[in-house]
């Protein structure tokens, strides 16, 4: 995946002006060390080797497929959250917004007895709308995104519980398994693909496609340039004509879009959603992005880094089970990984910049 981030070396004929004696000291290895996701990569490799050694089943293909599935459910959201963090903002409402999206699709199509797809499209609108409202309030009030999205988080948590009970009369949304369009929606959002006898959940592929698209946007389009700029210095960006407002609102809506995909998966993997779910997950997405090298202050990071962060999360989550440890240790492990990966990021970045 890292190959998408580096250009092939310039042909020799063009290198006349760029061959400089001061350039010789930066080897390709040092260039790799200068990339934002290197700390996470080191952590992922270490963790992988560790679990391979302590667990006999960790290296089996089916276990690997499970690890990837666990990673993808975090990773899909981490893509949007990483972009948003590079753009200099947080979204604490991302975790419950996933459930809001799933509840919208399920409750709407159940209550009005429509085709499921009507609910799915409406849920997309709601998810993008939540992102838009987050971004719009942020821009208009100039409040920190921490406060704005914390408020959205609380409101959505309440709305999820209250509306689900008001409409369906229970804390869980009613089953929609027998309704029109359920089979086709399940095929899109929650199916498995059999490769060489192993079942891979399709969220893995959605995740990979999202990471690839996000990397391309970030590194190769002008929108990507603007994302780095609004996170690095919004005033400077505005002064040279970058549409800061549109970029930030767009980023919040991208998080909404990722939340919609995951929400639909959560809904169609079963046939109902618990209205109280999702609380706390926003931190997992932020943790994945931070482990992957995104700076909390914005302006630096990568989509691939967020993906590696999510993969670390998936390995730790399932690896503990395969190693037959008590899963109570998982959160401790996660905290330790967060600390170590960010310290490695910091050290590597400083050393790479000195060279």
């Amino acid at each position: 995946m890292a190959s998408t981030t580096t250009l092939p070396p310039a042909p020799a004929s063009k290198s006349g002006s760029r061959s400089d004696e001061r350039m010789g000291r930066r080897s390709p290895f040092q260039k790799l060390l200068g990339r934002p996701e290197v700390g996470a990569l080191v952590g992922a490799v270490v963790l992988f080797i560790f679990f391979s050694l302590v667990s006999s089943t960790f290296l089996t293909p089916s276990a690997f497929s499970t690890v990837l599935y666990g990673s993808s459910t975090i990773g899909i959201m981490a893509v949007g959250v990483a972009l948003l963090m590079i753009g200099g903002e947080f979204d604490l409402s991302a975790g419950v917004a996933v459930i809001s999206s799933a509840l919208t699709a399920s409750l709407f199509s159940w209550y009005f007895s429509t085709n499921i797809w009507v609910g799915v499209v409406l849920a997309l609108g709601v998810s993008l709308g939540i992102g838009f409202i987050n971004g719009y309030i942020l821009i208009k009030t100039k409040l920190p995104s921490f406060i704005v999205t914390l408020a959205t988080f609380l409101m959505l948590t309440g709305l999820n519980l209250a509306l689900t009970r008001a409409v369906g009369g229970s804390v869980s949304s009613p089953s929609i398994a027998t309704m029109d369009g359920f089979a086709s929606a399940r095929a899109i959002f929650a199916s498995s693909i059999n490769i060489a006898g192993i079942e891979f959940k399709n969220t893995i592929f959605i995740w990979i496609i999202l990471v690839a698209v996000a990397s391309w946007i970030l590194l190769r389009t002008k929108v990507g340039n603007w994302i780095f700029a609004v996170g690095g210095d919004a005033n400077a960006a505005r002064a040279v004509g970058v549409p800061v407002t549109k970029t930030k609102i767009g980023l919040f809506m991208a998080v909404g879009f990722c939340g919609w995909i995951l929400g639909m998966h959560n809904l169609f993997a079963f046939d109902a959603v618990q209205s109280g779910e999702g609380v706390g997950n926003e931190f997992l997405y932020i943790i994945a992005a931070v482990i992957g090298g995104c700076l909390l202050t914005g302006g630096y990071g990568s989509a691939v880094g967020g993906a590696i962060g999510a993969f670390i999360f998936g390995m730790a989550n399932k690896g503990i089970v395969y190693a037959q440890w008590n899963p109570d240790w998982f959160k401790f492990f996660l905290g330790l990984m967060l600390l170590l990966a960010t310290i490695v990021n910091l050290i590597v970045k400083r050393r790479a910049e000195l060279k």
Binding site: S17, R220, T221, K222, A236, A237
Partner: protein, 308 residues
Amino acid sequence: MNAKQIDQQTLLKDEKDPLTHTPVHLLSLDGVGKHYGNIIALRDVTMAVDNGRVTCVLGDNGAGKSTLIKIIAGLHQHDEGVLHIMGTERKFSSPRDALDAGIATVYQDLAVVPLMPIWRNFFLGSELTTGWGPFKSMDVQKMKDITLAELAAMGIDLRDVEQPIGQLSGGERQCVAIARAVYFGAKVLILDEPTAALGVKQSGVVLRYILQARDRGLGVIFITHNPHHAFPVGDRFLLLKRGKSIGYYDKKDVTLEELTAQMAGGAELAELAHELAELGGHSDVVQEVQAEVAEVAEVAGVSSQRQG
């Protein structure tokens, strides 16, 4: 004080614009003023900018220089007077608006994003793209090549356009910002205190780029509080104090000493410089000391203003 003030009406009477050959200013302000609520930030400022000329705006902190450039750069709108671009009255509603009219501003805080590579900064907001529709992507190699070539043309020799711009020195960053404005076809270049945070040598480098931009035919507005930086490169000098114009001179009608004296508002400063010259130091040492004196005087001026 025997310096002759510029009469705006007769300024271009015998003179034609070097590029357009018409007696119309590239940019002119006539009686421009701005107030925030009941605070008057700027009033009755009249000045002109022409192609291939440097107009210097001199003044202490709080003199209204920032307000003036913000009006020209489209960040604020003036409440009084008129702003003409090539003879047409304009009022800019946004920085983008001013940019489209050919007015580029290099800000004191540089308007660069420190963590981003030089080439990304160079093209920020005006990225080159190839491809079509949703597959439109940046032409990265071309952008890197142009950045390197444009900076080389300005005499800036860089190792690597991929390094974060924050790693460059203040002077180099100013030069990148100037080169960027020149490349994107600016007709008017506003430089907001480009030498304020720089050492003597770095300031010299930046002053040289100002002249290069001028020689490329740009109209330059050079904002500074240092007459020693303004005088060697400027063609016209507008002096601001407390939001008001206290003088507007052509270079042939004014001397460095007169500018300095008006800026500092005291005769003792000129006396001190004279004294130092009499002590018989090396001429460039004296010049440096003069520059230092001017700076010290400014600091004193600020603190006395604060007390007052």
